[in-house]
């Protein structure tokens, strides 16, 4: 029972799909944002795993940058959600329909 690169890649792929499914299928905008966070987390695992396999640390730098970007993205997303809520009193994606014809 030795753990190698492909184990991590498969874990990351499953995680990525979980996050993607959440973004696509859920109607709760907050959970959709969380889905994006899961996807980014899975990418980070891929970077870390390759970094370990290659013995090269630039993957780690990439991951740290991703942390910052994920945080900034979450911050902006939540700020926009709060702005929506102030007008509409709802964060349900089905009720965000002012753009339909």
């Amino acid at each position: 029972m030795v753990i190698g690169l492909n184990h991590y890649l498969i874990l990351a792929a499953a995680l990525f799909l979980t996050g993607a499914a959440g973004v696509l299928a859920r109607r709760n905008t907050l959970i959709m944002l969380m889905g994006v966070e899961i996807m980014l987390c899975s990418v980070n695992i891929v970077f870390a795993a390759y970094s370990r396999a290659l013995g090269d640390m630039s993957g780690h730098v990439f991951v740290i940058m991703n942390f910052a970007i994920a945080a900034a993205e979450a911050a902006i997303g939540l700020a926009i959600l709060v702005a929506i809520y102030r007008i509409k009193r709802s964060v349900n994606a089905d009720e965000l329909n002012s753009l339909k014809e």
Binding site: G4, G19, L24, M34, I38, A48, A75, A79
Partner: protein, 167 residues
Amino acid sequence: MEAVLFYLFGALLLGGAIAAMTSRSAVAAVVWLIFAFVNAAGIYALLAAPVLAILQILIYAGAIMVLFLFVVMMLQGPTLKSELKSIGDRKWWLPVGAVLVALLNWMHGVSLEGFTNDAPAGFGEIKGVAELLLNKYMITFEMISLVLLVAIIGAVALASNKKGMPW
């Protein structure tokens, strides 16, 4: 030992993520996600990346998810009424399932062997990250502060309570 830890952390991480994505209540989703991200830190530790493990807990579990929890509490009750009946669109589960099946199929032929190399000495330590970040990737180091600046402007633009705004 490593295998045990990998399967433990991996299962908890994946389980936490799935639980978060399928829970009806947003509060529960946040708590599950915090749980999942703590386990992701364990995965980083297994990958000989202690710095990432610490930062994962510090940033994701500590800051981002707390902000999420904050907004969840601020914006709504535990559950959306429309999601009581079924969580989400059924039609999306199909393509995701198809990709999953393709992945499993591909996994079938994949060799599951260990890492062929040992990590070099000093791998994953803060010193190495700092070396790269401040020398080779110097320009991205400055760029990221501009990205944070954009987010700060956004926070002020969207969330500050300018005069005349109720609540």
